[in-house]
Subunit: 219 residues, 2 copies
DNA sequence: TAGACTAATGAATGACTATTCATTCGTTAT
DNA sequence: ATAACGAATGAATAGTCATTCATTAGTCTA
């Protein structure tokens, strides 16, 4: 009978001290793995520190408390998503239509679109109703993305009486729904399937900007 | 200093026994309220039974264990969603287009589309990755709805080479995404807003069947 | 009404967990 | 090389919670 807690065998070469940021990241990554594997409530201090190959007391040393570690982990995930789409915005050779396409598709970048990461996201969403801080963290990053999407939609529909906020909201909702189905039905909602769903959505929404053939962009 | 556990004052009229089904439903409803308020991990036996106005031991009497109560609660939620759309299918005066519209819109029926119910759904989704049974329960009800949606899409596109499974998947994903945003951003994603989003989606997907003016249906 | 049956109770139990802090040990400066 | 510092440890603590079961009390039958 095992405990179910996987403890990475403490390395025999007994290096001990490490820079603060290294330890923080190490613990955050162990937390992500733990939540994916056992959920937030199953993510005990012993499980996280064991997986990180460190001792129990280390969390309070670097994060003060479990709650802080959980908040830091959500912030880390949010930053990871942010950098995925924000990286694409730096490329100023892209036309607005291409940018919109790229940002919408960035939700399915393998770095963030994989069973581990997505299930951690939904573990947090499941507590968002009564954990005000979780909502605040998610919101602060989402707002930024929403603004970018709205600006891009605006530039594709200059003069049209189309509600850009509504279109941006639709893109985000659809993307979120595909994420959820990717963990519920991973066989059907593969990365390729989700990308093709989003492509269909974008083409239906902006028929003048996106054409069928190569799943690329055409202005 | 309070415990934070709301105990419905035990009624003074000391009726005690009640039919099995009454107690089961009473406990399931208390569980739904508890999860919405404190999440699954905060849903202790003391919290559930206190809210139901019963004693701690009652859960093992009617459900054997906490896990069984949680499974029964998810099954209950699934049945509630099922009966919401299945009820609409009984009306055989409806044309296929009207049925598709009605089934898609049933996701936003106030009986199931409200902050309490939606947040409980996402509390379960958050654990679906490592609780195989949760996935099984949700899947068994979703499959049925998917079949109905696919059949309806099929009858609207007779002869067209359109992938009905993909369209049905799109409707379900979009619906799920709107649900998620309804708990993340309740101010923006109101019932009316979500309905209008879904209407836009359906019109874009079936331009020949759904027209703009009254947000109704036209064959 | 008495006796039998079963629903319901809730204190006790045992298992589990976040947090603390005295101690250990690697690193750096002298 | 050694002292001083601070990172890291993990056993101990204090608290929480699901489950059990001996007891209580409605309800039904004869």
């Amino acid at each position: 009978m095992t405990t179910g807690i996987e403890t990475k065998p403490r390395s025999k070469t007994k290096r001990r001290t490490a820079p603060k940021e290294v330890r923080r990241l190490q613990l955050i990554e162990a937390t992500v793995d733990c939540i994916a594997e056992r959920g937030i409530s199953g993510t005990t201090m012993a499980a996280v520190t064991g997986r990180a190959g460190l001792s129990m007391g280390i969390v309070s040393l670097h994060f003060e408390s479990k709650d802080n570690l959980l908040n830091a982990t959500l912030t880390h995930l949010s930053q990871e998503v942010r950098s995925t789409w924000a990286g694409l915005m730096k490329d100023d050779t892209l036309a607005p239509a291409e940018r919109l396409w790229a940002v919408a598709m960035s939700s399915f970048d393998p770095r963030i679109f994989n069973p581990t990461k997505i299930s951690v996201w939904f573990a947090y969403f499941g507590e968002v109703q009564y954990r005000v801080l979780y909502r605040k963290i998610v919101e602060s990053f989402d707002d930024e993305r929403t603004d970018v999407l709205e600006d891009l939609c605006e530039s594709l529909n200059a003069g049209d009486p189309i509600d850009v906020a509504s279109i941006a909201g639709g893109i985000e909702s659809f993307s979120d729904g595909l994420w959820l189905n990717a963990i519920l039905y991973p066989e059907k909602f593969t990365r390729d399937y989700c990308i093709s769903q989003m492509a269909t959505f974008l083409r239906a929404t902006f028929p003048a900007h996106f054409q069928k053939p190569s799943l690329g962009v055409s202005a």
